[in-house]
């Protein structure tokens, strides 16, 4: 299971980690797919850092962007699967992780806009 934990080692309680763990245990997700997902996470993280980072010398900031990437993938997977582990495993097998990232990112933006909207209403 060390391969699996590589992807989400910072947070084993994430839904994403649970799904991968479950999928590998039940042979629904192959180790080959786990390797592919590691590459996909690395690519998303790399792009996020180059797009978002203010200070490239800050390991803290770089780690923050990597963590954000994984959290967005996790959020997107939760939303896309409605937290159904079996369905989530199937989705992970069939979709590039960037799709979950996009869903997670869209959810985050939507909730951010909602908060801003409610603040404006509150402030009147």
């Amino acid at each position: 299971m060390s391969n699996v934990s590589d992807i989400t080692e910072h947070e084993s309680r994430l839904f994403l980690a649970k799904v991968i763990s479950h999928g590998v245990d039940t042979d629904e997700i192959s180790l080959e797919r786990v390797e592919e997902m590691k590459q996909e996470v690395a690519e998303i993280s790399h792009k996020l850092v180059t797009i978002k980072a203010d200070d490239f010398s800050s390991n803290f900031e770089i780690k923050h962007h990597v963590r954000t990437g994984i959290e967005m993938i996790n959020l997107g997977l939760e939303h896309g699967s409605q937290r159904d582990i079996a369905r989530a495993a199937r989705l992970l097998n069939k979709n590039h992780l960037v799709k979950f990232f996009q869903i997670g990112n869209s959810l985050k933006k939507e909730s951010h806009n909602e908060i801003l909207g409610s603040e404006e209403t509150f402030l009147g």
């Binding site: 996909e40 690519e43 998303i44 790399h46 792009k47 996020l48 180059t50 797009i51 978002k52 203010d54 200070d55 490239f56 010398s57 800050s58 390991n59 939303h79 896309g80 369905r87 199937r90 989705l91 097998n93 069939k94 979709n95 590039h96 960037v98 799709k99 990232f101 996009q102 869903i103 990112n105 869209s106 959810l107 933006k109 939507e110």
Partner: protein, 262 residues
Amino acid sequence: MNNLTVFEPQIESDTLLSMPIAEAELVFQGYPTNKQLEIISATRDPRKREELYYFVPDCTELIQLSSTEDMLQILSTSLGTGYASILIPCLSSNQFEEMMDIVVWKDGKLDEKSLDIWLFELSLCDDEDLSQFLYRIDIGILASMLRGRFEINSDFLALMIESGTIDPSSKEIQFKDERSKHILDAVWAADENLFTRLLYEVFGLDKEELTSELSTSLERAKEERDQRVEERDRQMGIQVTEEQILQTVDLKKIDLEDDKDE
């Protein structure tokens, strides 16, 4: 027992950095280039990594063989202090261009603050280095950053620029901040033709629709930059694009492939 020793770059790096400098230089210089690079690459703290480069008399080759991301991390530790200008001349033109493609654009938009800091560091380099690197920054980007930061008070603006009778010390130029003067001084010192072209871009001469032309020039710069980034990513095996990262989806129409759909 045999005499085989395992080469652990990270341990070697720690050992070298704890040695007296003269001794460390001797040991480091005794390694072939590939081992030196391995040690450098294994040193994750950018400040410590920078120290290793100084263990050789001329670190240009080592720097140019290092990854752009690693060098960017090192340079970022001293950006804005003037010290980054010591290492910038060691970069290859391609490394510099790759860095600009990363640092000058944020979230798909021009990051003028970042460009300003980089230009400040560049302006401290000598004229030859400056000229080499300035050409790697799209003129549309330079113009966009300098627009509105200086004025030329003359009824014959186009004529003055065209005839080359204007330079940063001309009394007709009024700067709104010191940094923009410093940058224009540097451009002038590096290349007078580039200076003239830059003024053309800044003031949008010979162009009917000034605003739209200027934004087109920036869009073109962005397009060219995107193509370079995609090409580099392809070479590195990265398939995820910036566009995909920045793209949001309609949450009511999520398009995911599911086994059950088949």
